[in-house]
């Protein structure tokens, strides 16, 4: 459900049935999607709303709040010169979400990066392995409960 103030926004309205919430801040539209429906949302923005580019996929760790992780997708419509941010919240316990690789091939490496640094699993990803850290690394360095220096608090 998107808030009343965004009813006028065609883009937000098109995602109404999949959205948990939405906001328009700093001239940027953010739509939070139910994590179970993320693939449907990505397919819709790509095929019907013209967002043919996935700029990046990343995550924000809200530790110790729950749901802990936000998976953030930045999308661009080249012809319409529009940008859109989709978001899905995941719990800290076994975070997992459907991979976007079947919709945007660019998601492949970005999701591997998120897996590598945050430990979020992407279901149906073709090659979910570490990409930046060494293969035998333990832990997920960008999580907020990992210190910047040393290995533990």
């Amino acid at each position: 459900m998107i808030p009343e103030s965004l009813r006028e926004n065609a883009l937000a309205a098109a995602l109404d049935d999949l959205a948990v919430s939405a906001k328009f801040d700093f001239n940027e539209l953010t739509v939070e999607i139910d994590p179970a429906k993320i693939l449907e949302a990505l397919q819709r923005v790509r095929r019907q709303l013209g967002f043919e580019r996935l700029s990046t996929v990343t995550s924000v760790d809200r530790y110790p709040a729950e749901p802990r992780f936000e998976v953030v997708y930045h999308l661009q419509a080249i012809a319409g010169k529009q940008r859109l941010r989709l978001k899905a919240r995941l719990t800290g316990e076994n975070p997992e979400i459907e991979s976007a690789c079947s919709v945007y091939r660019a998601a492949n490496w970005y999701e591997r990066e998120v897996f590598d640094l945050f430990g979020i699993r992407f279901a149906n990803h073709p090659n979910l392995t570490r990409i930046l850290m060494p293969e035998d690394w333990e832990g997920y360095p960008l999580r907020k409960d990992v210190p910047v220096t040393g290995t533990r608090y």
Binding site: S55, R83, R85, Y104, M133
Partner: protein
Amino acid sequence: MDGGITSELEVEQDYERHEQEKSGTRSMVLNMGPQHPSTHGVLRLLLELDGETILKAAPDIGYLHTGIEKEFEVKTYQQGVTLTDRIDYLAPLSNNLVYCLAAEKLLGLEIPPLAQWTRVMLSEFTRLNSHLVWLGTHAIDIGAMSVFLYCFREREEILRVFEMYSGQRMMTSYFRIGGLALPPPRGWQKRVKDFVDMFSSRVDEYEELLTNNRIWTGRTQGVGFIPLEDMIDLGVTGPMLRAAGLKIDIRKDAPYSSYEKFDFEVPTRTENDVFARYLVRIEEMRQSTKIIRQALEGMPSGSHQADAPGIVLPDREKMKTQMESLIYHFKIVTEGFRVPEGEVYQVIESPRGEVGCYMVSDGTQKPYRVHWRGPSFGNLQAIPKMIEGTLIADVIAGLGSMDFVLGDTDR
């Protein structure tokens, strides 16, 4: 003599045929890198070969991962500027700019025209700097030695401009949140003017060396093709897309830092090969020179920093006479400034393509999260698509045309 060699070859071919019949066709795996002179950094490519044809390619990155995104979280906003230089060490000022723009968007700061124009001018110098390094090393990889020396001659002049402005040749950190670190140096006009007057003819020199050079065209034309739809789908940006005929440039599509006030063209080609990417970047150098000249001629006067006392460091003289300035100075230096809660995604056109800075603030003096969308990371993903099915000798030309920086890829 001739007969001898031929018969020897025949014997060898017979032997190979015999071996293949025994074991079936065998492919060979070649490990290119992590230390390979043409990757300009540390990139490992696993190539599966059938003779000289590449069947499968798998890039392996991460050798230069330094955890910069994590480090942003323990630095104050202003300290973070110094980290951005080190991400893409050939385009430090573009990275400074995107980081500052993101923070300024969160803060709602209005940047004075002098600072904006200087930012544009120095960003274009950065583009020239990066393109010159690219051209020189790309040419040397393919075998044209002398171009490198010419390119580095002009790059030296650009580094001198950077040094004049910031005291640093490479890790400039000259753009700060709220404007510029220092007012433009005395005599900058002459140095910049000397450069732009000289540079157009220098670009002609590079073109004379390469554009009609038969070896160069032979190595680059028709090499490194990727269909445009695949590039968009794989996250490729920048000159690669423009060489495939797509007129896309963030400076035009979503102007930042007063780019809308400058008159320049976005060069495109349609051949979509290594040669077209070369021509696009050459033309971009001419356009950048044009922008620098406009900035030189129309440079507004005024302050180099925004009027934001709690964010911008106060004037040294004022600190000696006004107590508030001293307090602000103390507060900014010891604990930084608070940035309102929110999140922004700022993109700009760096020499390599779209660089994006996703900044999340929780209202404290340090960013809660900074994600860096480096253009090299996106571009590198398209490597298998580009080189699979081509000859191994074309890998070097293809990789060079992508113009990636491994520091930017691995962060």
